[in-house]
Amino acid sequence: MRLTYRSFKRWLLAFVLVLPLQLSFAAELVEPQVLSGLAGDSNDERAKSITALGLLSTPGAAVVLAALGDGNVLITSDGRILLARGDQQVFDPTTGVTQARPSDAQSLTLNNRLRRALQSALASSELFSAQTSTRLAAAQRLQKEADPARAPLIERALNAERDQNIRRALEVALASAAIKSPDAVIRRNAIIALGESKNAAFKPALLAIVTASSSGQYAEPDDTVRAAATLALKQIEQHQTLISWVGNIFFGISLGSVLLLAAIGLAITFGLMGVINMAHGELLMIGAYATYIVQSLFKQWLPGWMDWYVLAALPVAFLVTAIVGMALERTVIRWLYGRPLETLLATWGISLILMQAVRSIFGAQNVEVANPSWMSGGITVLGNLTLSYNRLVIIGFAFFVVMAVWLVLNYTRLGLFVRAITQNRQMADCVGVPTGRVDMLAFGLGSGIAGLAGVALSQLSNVGPDLGRGYIVDSFMVVVLGGVGQLAGTVVAALGLGILNKIIEPFWGAVIAKIAILLFIVLFVQKRPQGLFAPKGRSAE
């Protein structure tokens, strides 16, 4: 009889939610027998009545509970419960009638025990609130309280709930309530369910079950429950390990793709001309500043297209850095071919000038480059690992750039010339390859790719005059490790270093990981001075 009444109420609630205007009056009322306990003298009865109100979860019950919290509940001498509306008026929750305040109405005061009952009753009724955030907060509060008496209520809320996040929170709350159940079978099943959920939030509760007190006593008397808890803990820990590994690999690939973008332009210029371009980092920085300028222009002239400024920034950054690179090649670097150490010094000087120039124009402070809306946020996998969109986009972009470079080098005339000069400059010159022009174009290509990398970096890190400095040592490491003039080597080295770095980091910390990587490369180069993928053939010296 009681059950059918409840299900009837739920249907009613559904109607209330669908047709709030027409049917609101029905849900606003409270059955008199629910309230009768409040009118009695016994605190037990009052507590029961408050709990019942919480379980009712109708708007009417919520009104009474709110009034209880505010101290607005009045009791008449004949045992009626009224809610004060101002000083003169009262509202009868059982009939919905507002009337003048009877002279014999006494306000109901709550002691601490009733206050606690009210708190949890409020949480219960909030489970059915129309507000998603209120429901979620209530579910989370119930997780902490873990009261087995509330299990049926949570189950009911779970059945009605459609929001995935809240459902998950409710499941957790349900299981953590069931852990406290006096019945060992229910406890065990709950623990098994917790293990299945693989949610790290249960670890403390499960640990409390399997940990013996100092006197060797367990809080949990049942062996099978403890065994289940141990198993569940193991499941959760395995899942956590999995998450951290997947996370490490993801962040490693992300770092690797950034390194790849930073290094690939360098690999072209270094591989082709044996030129160490110390200004490469500054070309990255110029690419990032180009993004900033495009963003400012969009803000000024095309505010409706702000989301797509990054795409517009790509060709701009490519062109600007390619022109800067070609200008460098024509004015400075071409005079230093065959003297790589001097080139290193000259390009270092250029990097100082470029850095100071940017500082003079844009100021020494970082400028603000915002992620477009489609790059913010991320997808959540495996429960609580968020893969952010900007990192995913940059990983994809890095591979796009690698493909493009590969196509240019292998399927264009320029690429053919570049490969010919890399293999044997003099011979290429003899058979009519315009080496000077190819050098310029290839240097422009390498620099332009640095510009593209700068666009990507602007989406991940701060854009300031020192941006390039942070990448220069790393990108040299990638080129050295990968081997000169080897695209595949660069890709493998960049991703390998990125992943290795992120795998070491949790154990030793970021700084030591970095040091270890640098030392690893120093040692590796001892073993294979030509890098991972050494060019074959008789290229002595």
Binding site: G349, Q356, R469, I515, V522
Partner: protein, 371 residues
Amino acid sequence: MSVMHTTIARHSSSRLYSGSTWTGIAIVVAFFACLPALNLFFPVDHPLHVSSFTVALIGKFLCYALAALALDLVWGYTGILSLGHGLFFALGGYAHGMYLMRAAKSSPEILPDFMGFLSWKTFPWFWSFTEHFWYAMLLVVLVPGVLAFMFGYFAFRSRIKGVYFSIITQALTFAAMLLFFRNETGFGGNNGFTDFKKILGFDITSADTRAVLYWVSLATLLGSLILARAITQSKLGRVLTAIRDSESRLRFLGYEPLGFKLFIWTVSAILCGIAGALYVPQVGIINPSEMSTENSIEMVIWVATGGRGTLIGPIIGAGTINGLKTWFTSVFPEFWLYALGLIFVLVTLFLPQGIVGLARQLGQRFKRIKP
């Protein structure tokens, strides 16, 4: 052929410099040696008074010159471009700094403040004996020397050269900088060592002590110059130049370059460490930024500007560039990096032999016109 070598060697080692050059060196050294004396003995308003600032500045330049000289031995003479000499410089400085930190306290057993912040109770093992000056001086020589020897042994044995070598020295220095930036490493992290009070019982800030440090630096520089001259004039020095000019040809002639390179590389690192050790008490601070990439490359440009492959060149270069730096940063601070950048570009493009090379060219042209 070996006869020719030995005659050259004997001839050159008996007379390092010609008599007139010796006189020139003596005059220059005497001039610089006088500066602190002028500072000490003449009152501030006297026309012959040299300000304490100038003395301290030139004292600092002497240390830079020593570092540049050391770098020139490997780059100018042997063709090994190191982008990691800042590391050796800083290691020498840190080794001396450890002694100075302990001497600054009333008792050498009192921990420096930064160790207190880490709530360490005792000195870590690598700080033991550093309360003795002689031991710190031993470290100044040994730490850069042993590190350079080990690194050089592996690098030269694998025949890493050219830009590859430069890049891995840069990586090594960068890694060391990161290591020293950590507070837990035990060298004061970011702030490094500062607030020195006493050296061998003397007040480190007094004019007398500073004058002595200056003279010691000058003497060390002079001694190193003579040592470097002896090395480069010897048969060993000829092999080094041969390595620079064509290492593979030298190997085909039956020489194993490893030992020669390792020797000069280690000597250079030790000299650089000594330069750092002289530098720290004079400027009163040592921190990990001395190991930054920028510092090491700046050392290279001192050598390039002065003239590599000459011994006097790096000394002139270190003085010129640092003089310019001091002038710029006080008059046009925002233009210093432009100027330094331009120096890098212009020197490599137009002055491959540096100031000394330019002077020689001009001198030859002058001679040709004169008769």
